[in-house]
């Protein structure tokens, strides 16, 4: 049954050091506000799971909170590389991290298997690909009907899934629209979940086939207007592409990164997110 909580209380009661946490959102609806709260609370030794680590994991990794990262594309989309992730992988700064690398198809299948309560995902993939030589969690399985050899990866079952959604109603039912990514699968695959939303409404006004998470599938809901910034929320505000471009320079330098994080995350609070999307609003 979803509880409505302040973000800091949701994070402190639901995420613990050493947990595996999937912060999902495929370019759209990336739950930045929750990651910043995790950084403020210094929750560390995390195994973080995410198809596209993006800026959100560049920040968590750069702050030294990540022990292991399970992922499939570690770039700054359309801009270049994730410089804090690179520094951790190439130079072990600020600490070494373990990588478990997959393809998008494998990650998506693994979340779906987790949501479906299966132990593994089966797909036609990784054919001729080098990842199966460096990732022991990529194996093959023979179809008992056709004899075809297929790829198998373990289901993803995170301790916690964290997502940002558009809105929730007063019971805690959650609506996701636009690029829906793997958020529904991640929440259903996880033991616990935190969902931040732009607003609480009386009626979701969801069409019959909309992507809705019923209130009894969600652990906590927190209202954080702008909580996906610099990602976006369909119908609320657009993607802050300039921020993604400018991040490349912030992340390129250890000192600049640390002072930026100190000023804009550690010394900030959750309510700055609503200011960060000012001027990016779209007409609903």
């Amino acid at each position: 049954m979803a509880k409505f909580l302040e973000l800091k209380d949701a994070v402190s009661s639901i995420i613990s050091s050493g947990d595996s946490v999937a912060f999902e959102g495929f370019t759209h609806l990336i739950p930045h506000a929750v990651a910043h709260e995790v950084i403020r609370q210094g929750i560390d030794e995390l195994t973080v799971i995410r198809m596209t680590p993006d800026l959100i994991y560049d920040q968590l990794v750069g702050m030294g909170l990540v022990k292991k990262m399970i992922f499939s594309y570690a770039g700054n989309p359309g801009v270049g590389l994730l410089r804090r992730v690179r520094d951790a992988v190439e130079n072990s700064w600020p600490r070494s991290i373990e990588l478990e690398e997959h393809s998008h198809a494998a990650m998506a299948n693994a979340y779906e298997a987790g949501a479906a309560g299966l132990p593994l995902a089966v797909m036609r993939g990784y054919m001729g690909a080098g990842l199966k030589d460096v990732n022991p969690n990529i194996k093959s399985i023979t179809c008992p009907f056709s004899g075809e050899e297929l790829a198998a990866v373990p289901a993803l079952r995170p301790d916690v899934a964290v997502i940002h959604a558009l809105k929730a109603d007063r019971k805690g039912n959650v609506l996701i629209e636009g690029i829906v990514g793997v958020q529904k699968e991640a929440v259903l695959a996880a033991k616990r979940s935190i969902v931040t939303v732009e607003e609480i409404v009386d009626d979701l006004e969801a069409h019959p086939n909309a992507c809705v998470l019923p209130h009894w599938t969600v652990t906590a809901i927190c209202v954080v207007k702008g909580g996906a910034h610099p990602s976006y929320a369909q119908g609320y505000y657009g993607r802050d592409n300039n921020y993604y471009i400018a991040w490349d320079k912030v992340a390129a330098d250890r000192d600049r990164f640390q002072s930026w994080m100190q000023e804009n995350v550690v010394a900030a609070s959750t309510n700055v997110f609503s200011e960060r999307v000012e001027g990016l609003e779209v007409n609903q």
Binding site: L82, A108, G130, V180, R239, L280
Partner: protein, 267 residues
């Protein structure tokens, strides 16, 4: 038309756009592939189906997206599906005619590396990784690749097999159970390449206007094969150039975004 001024980059995008047809269902990689696919849509292939891995099917963006999941892709799409559905039903299901990829490193058999430079466990440069590409390369009916030529990119031996092209050449794809054609076309800033029908080694079939064989060899880390009947790529037409430049200008304006001063500014 050959008197028009154009850059090698523009020639690359336009040559790539010409390879796409109205009936194609194209899985679009970000960057150069995205530009080429949208120029095709805005010129000779208005009904082409463009699919981005974020789940948007039949998208028609006004400006080029910065990421594979910008809001405009969803706003202009026929439909948007979940990411598991995208990879399972649409890509793995065999519904993509052309997978359009870029690369950091490419070898003579069109194998792609976008994972690491150097050793995987102790890389000199950690690149983003494969994302959707390993399965785009094996499940699309054909693969087109577009990238600029350089000695760093066109290497004798790639450091990591992110996406399988033709392996060691010949029938290597079939031998490991892949049923699709794999890379059938490479469009660069200097030339158009196709794999040899037998050996599958990439062969230059058309030089862009003003480009020499020496220019090609100077940017490639193996001894290049040229087709016996080497053609010259037709220069961009005035119409093609206008469509591309207008698209780039709309993209520039769109990415400029907001100009409001606020807290949390990273710049």
């Amino acid at each position: 038309m050959s008197t028009l001024d154009f850059t090698p980059d523009e020639m690359m995008t336009i040559a790539a756009s010409r390879a796409l047809g109205n009936d194609d269902v194209c899985f679009v990689g970000i960057g150069a592939p995205s530009a080429a696919c949208n120029v095709a849509r805005l010129t000779h292939a208005p009904d082409i189906t463009l699919i981005y891995e974020s789940g948007t099917i039949g998208t028609a963006p006004e400006a080029l997206p910065l990421s594979i999941g910008d809001g405009e892709l969803c706003d202009t799409a026929l439909t948007t599906v979940s990411v598991p559905e995208m990879f399972r039903y649409w890509l793995q299901g065999g519904r993509i005619s052309i997978g359009f990829l870029g690369a950091a490193q490419l070898d003579r058999f069109a194998n792609i590396n976008t994972t690491v430079i150097g050793d995987y466990d102790a890389p000199k440069t950690r690149l983003p990784g494969g994302g959707g590409a390993p399965e785009i390369a094996s499940s699309s009916q054909e693969v087109y690749i577009t990238m600029k030529q350089s000695k760093r990119g066109f290497v004798d031996k790639i450091d990591f097999f992110t996406s399988f092209g033709h392996g060691e050449g010949g029938d290597h794809r079939q031998r490991i159970g892949i049923k699709t054609k794999g890379p059938t076309l490479l469009i660069t800033d200097l030339a158009i390449w196709k794999p040899d029908p037998e050996t599958k080694e990439l062969t230059v079939v058309s030089l862009h206007p003003g480009v020499t064989k020496d220019d090609i060899q100077a940017t490639v880390g193996w001894t290049v094969k040229f087709a016996d009947k080497l053609e010259e790529t037709p220069a961009p037409t005035a119409d093609e150039l206008k469509v591309l430049r207008d698209l780039k200008e709309r993209t520039r304006i769109a990415h400029e975004g907001r100009k409001v001063e606020r807290k949390g500014e990273v710049a």
